[in-house]
Structures are given as structure tokens and as C-alpha cells.
């Protein structure tokens, strides 16, 4: 009899734990990508474009490694938008077009923030 109560309670607790773990993981990924992009931006502002390009490429690699996880847990449209922004930033960084680069980088950072924000437990999201 007891297991019949503990089973659904366990399932609910498991789902809640997974959701909270997912929110925490997304936040950690977001903070890491933000730091990587801030570093790339600082290098570009200092005029060190090759280093900025390397930093950005490294960040993209890190992002690409999480694609399966991201597609499992979050809306594919948001992930795909961030992916295309990454690509655009890389092309612009290679061309060393500073104004456009900073605009696109800002859009990319905002898109990544949105990804983490979607998974966060907040009154705004729930309501």
C-alpha cells in the first residue's frame, strides 16, 4: 500500500529535481558562455582581432558540444537562432568589422540569456 503512495510522490519529486537541475545547468552554461563572449568582446575592443576570433571559435565549440542537450530540453527555435548568431559573429569577426561585430555579439548574448531565462523558476515565467 505504501509504495503506491511513494511511487507517484517519487515520480513528482524526480520531475521536480530534474527541472531544478536543468534550470541550474542552463544557468551555469549561460554564465560560462557569457564570460567567453565578454572575453572575445574585450579582445576585439583592444584591436586584437585574431585572439577575439579564437575566443569566439572556442566559445562556439563549447556551445556546439551542448547542442543535443539543448535540443532535448529547450525550444528548438531559440537554440537555432543562437546558433545562427554565433555563425554571423564568427564571419564578422573574421572580416574585422567592429561596429557590426559588437551589435551581433550583443544579440547573441541576449539570445543566450533568453535560453537560461526560459528555464528559470520565476513568477514571471510561471504566470
Amino acid at each position: 500500500m505504501k509504495y503506491r503512495i511513494f511511487l507517484p510522490l517519487g515520480v513528482l519529486a524526480g520531475i521536480l529535481a530534474f527541472c531544478l537541475w536543468n534550470a541550474g545547468t542552463m544557468e551555469a552554461h549561460y554564465l560560462r558562455w557569457q564570460a567567453q563572449l565578454e572575453n572575445a568582446e574585450a579582445l576585439a575592443r583592444a584591436g586584437n582581432w585574431p585572439a577575439a576570433l579564437d575566443a569566439l571559435a572556442e566559445s562556439r565549440q563549447d556551445w556546439t558540444r551542448r547542442q543535443t542537450y539543448l535540443h532535448i530540453v529547450t525550444g528548438h527555435g531559440t537554440v537555432d537562432d543562437a546558433e545562427s548568431l554565433y555563425r554571423r559573429c564568427l564571419v564578422i569577426a573574421a572580416a574585422q568589422e567592429d561596429t557590426e561585430f559588437f551589435t551581433e555579439l550583443s544579440s547573441l548574448r541576449e539570445q543566450l540569456r533568453l535560453l537560461a531565462e526560459m528555464e528559470r523558476l520565476s513568477l514571471r515565467n510561471v504566470l
Binding site: L12, C19, V73
Partner: protein, 222 residues
């Protein structure tokens, strides 16, 4: 994902509360919890099925949450009478000793027309024939007339006890488990088949009831 989980919890209780407040007559055959579950699960299941931009988990997590919640609530209902009354409601007596219980009808938003319609549907011409009428949790009306049909004892005839026949041959296949459960063996079955002049393959249905009566239906077109 956490948003989907919390939203599911909120929506489940919201719809449950809404349906309980609506009264029994809107619910029909299903219990409130079952209705909520059916509606929400069917709706949730179609979203990730149709929109590939939504991860499957966004559909699976709310469905799992609903199922676990439903299981938990039904278990708690079995443990606590008060909780059961809260979740499933309690039956309401609409007619007591032939008298209409108007307060109960108002509480359940059950109109006189609906009551009369239901009585006619069950073969009662009017309220005068009804001693008790109970609105069940499922939304169905149970009606008890003033006079019950006469029993075998009242008529002075011998009762013919009802027993559930056990199927021994189903579409040519002998069900050994049922044969053993009836306390019979293959030799007995062979004897019965000999009397019928058939082999098991030729029998569509062979059953045995509690009084030891054998019923045999042969296959057609053999």
C-alpha cells in the same frame, strides 16, 4: 522545463476546482479527476506530436506529472474519507421518501426539468413513483421506486441461482486452466465431446455453469 512543471500543477488544480464548482451534472460519466486527466493529457500529447520545434520532454513532463498526481490523489482518496469527499465529492440525495430535496438540487444546479427527463429516461412517469433518487459522483442518477419487483420467495417459486458460466473451449482451443478451475479433467471433456459428436477443433464455444449444465456452440461452415 520548470515552468511547464509548475504550470501543469497549477492548471490541474485549477481545472479540478473549476469542475467541482461547476457541479456534477456537467461531468457526465467520468469522475472529476478522470475528466481533467483525460482532457489535459489528450491535449498535451498532441502538442509535441505536431510541433517539432517543441522538445518531447515539454510534453512528457506535464503528462507524467498529471499521471503521478492522479495516482497520488486516488491513493490518498482511498486512505482518507474526507479527502475522497473533497476530490470526488459525495452523492447527493435529490428525492428522499418521495419528497424533492430542493436545497440539494440548487447546490448541484440540477433543474426539475433535468430530473424529470432523467426519470422518464429510466422508465418512471413522474415523481410519485420514486422513493429515493441519488445524484452519484459520476453525474448519473440512481432511482429507487416505492415498490420493488417481487422476489422469487414472494412468488413462492424456487430460486434459480445465477452462476457465471466458465468457458472451456474458445474457438476450437481448450482452456485447460478453466477446466482445472471447474474441477474437471480432460477425460470428462472427452466424454462431453463424445456426446456432442465433435472434436475440440469443431467447437466454437463450450461452457459449463455452476449447475453443471454444458452449453455447446459448434463452428459454422465446417
Amino acid at each position: 522545463m520548470i515552468t511547464a512543471f509548475v504550470r501543469t500543477l497549477i492548471l490541474y488544480f485549477l481545472i479540478m476546482t473549476g469542475l467541482r464548482l461547476m457541479g456534477k451534472r456537467q461531468i457526465g460519466e467520468l469522475e472529476p479527476g478522470e475528466l481533467v486527466l483525460t482532457m489535459m493529457i489528450s491535449d498535451l500529447a498532441t502538442v509535441p506530436m505536431q510541433d517539432f520545434g517543441i522538445p518531447l520532454l515539454a510534453g512528457v513532463i506535464p503528462i507524467l506529472t498529471l499521471l503521478a498526481l492522479s495516482m497520488l490523489l486516488s491513493q490518498l482518496s482511498m486512505k482518507s474519507l474526507r479527502f475522497r469527499a473533497l476530490v470526488c465529492g459525495t452523492p447527493s440525495v435529490l428525492v428522499w421518501e418521495g419528497a424533492l430535496q430542493q436545497a440539494a438540487m440548487r447546490r448541484n444546479r440540477y433543474t426539475l426539468d433535468e430530473l424529470l427527463e432523467e426519470l422518464r429516461g429510466q422508465g418512471y412517469t413522474g415523481l410519485n413513483d420514486v422513493k429515493y433518487a441519488v445524484l452519484e459522483n459520476s453525474g448519473q442518477l440512481s432511482v429507487f421506486p416505492w415498490s420493488q419487483p417481487p422476489t422469487a420467495a414472494m412468488l413462492g417459486v424456487e430460486e434459480d441461482p445465477v452462476s457465471l458460466p466458465v468457458i472451456l473451449i474458445n474457438d476450437g482451443r481448450v482452456i485447460q486452466q478453466n477446466l482445472r478451475a471447474c474441477g474437471k479433467d480432460s477425460a470428462w471433456l472427452e466424454e462431453v465431446l463424445k456426446q456432442e459428436g465433435a472434436v475440440p477443433k469443431e467447437i466454437f464455444l463450450l461452457s459449463l455453469d455452476g449447475q453443471g449444465r454444458v452449453s455447446c456452440v459448434r463452428k459454422e461452415g465446417l
